[in-house]
């Protein structure tokens, strides 16, 4: 009875479908955009080196940066060999 009343009064409105569309689109674009251009990747790499070098010596040639698609999102995976740690921040 309550259900019927709600339906008549339009209170049981199912989730507006645009919300579903937006959420699906957000995820799909997240994966699409994860396919970053090599230039952007390179510039990200250079910036990472710059920042991390302030705190530790790293093997710049051994640095690997990639995006990996996980089931629930996209992860930025960095593999950075550390040569030595700095005592003070330069």
């Amino acid at each position: 009875m309550l259900e019927f009343l709600q339906r008549v009064l339009g209170l049981d409105k199912p989730t507006a479908s645009k919300k579903v569309a937006k959420e699906r689109l957000r995820l799909v674009l997240f994966h699409d955009r994860a396919d970053m251009s090599p230039q952007i990747m390179q510039s990200l790499k250079e910036d990472l080196i710059k920042v991390i070098s302030e705190y530790m010596d790293i093997d710049k040639s051994g640095l690997e940066v990639s995006l990996s698609n996980e089931s629930d999102g996209v992860a930025l995976v960095c593999n950075i060999p550390v040569l030595s740690l700095k005592r003070t921040v330069s």
Binding site: A16, S17, K18, K19, A21, K22, R24, L25, R26, V28, L29, D32, R33, S37
Partner: protein, 264 residues
Amino acid sequence: MGEVIVITSGKGGVGKTTTTANIGTGLASLGKKVVLIDTDIGLRNLDVVLGLENRIVYDIVDVVQGNCRLKQAMIKDKRFEDLCLIPAAQTKDKTAVSPEQMKNLTDQLKEEYDFIIIDCPAGIEQGFKNAIAGAEKAIVVTTPEIAAVRDADRIIGLLEASELREPKLIINRLRPSMVKKGDMMDIDDMIDILAIDLLGVVPEDEAIVISTNKGEPAVLDKSSKAGEAYRNIVRRIMGEHVPLMNLEASNGFMSKLKKLFGVS
């Protein structure tokens, strides 16, 4: 020196050709010298939307291959003296024209015309590359559907990679009544997702079907909502600041009643 603008979308059927025809006709109606180029080789349609299909002798492939002079392939519009169409070839494929040839063509046209508007084919292959080769500005057309917005996002990425920065967005076929119910993405949703500037919003309008049937662009139809939206877009392209029109459907009983009493 004219401006070269490409109209593109990625996905097919969102209204690239209709948009091209209306923007071109609208600019010409304001006294500008305009050339429209249909680059959808093999699937030409801009000619029928403009009602010029019976006048085609030469096409864009004839021009680049030197079978005719450029002027011979430029079809004059019925309504405006300074509006021309260079039609696509119907029997060749997209590789019949190269990006360099397109660039040469638009460079040549720029000397004499104010606007060169290029109707891009769907997809991201050779036809797309040809269409954007000579362009300086890009307009991306999308509809409020997941597939169209996704493809628009991809196209925006490709345009920016080709140095066509800051493309502008046209949202086509918006249905205000569905937006109101929460069953269609609204303008802000799409701008938010695509992160580019909005050039205009064209509501779904039966007048578009009718105008296409007749081969008369809706931009000239004073009573059409979509026509009004296109006229606004044209003025924005000309650099004017035009606010977005009110898209609220005004044919409901209550709004008619309100109108009757002068409330709305």
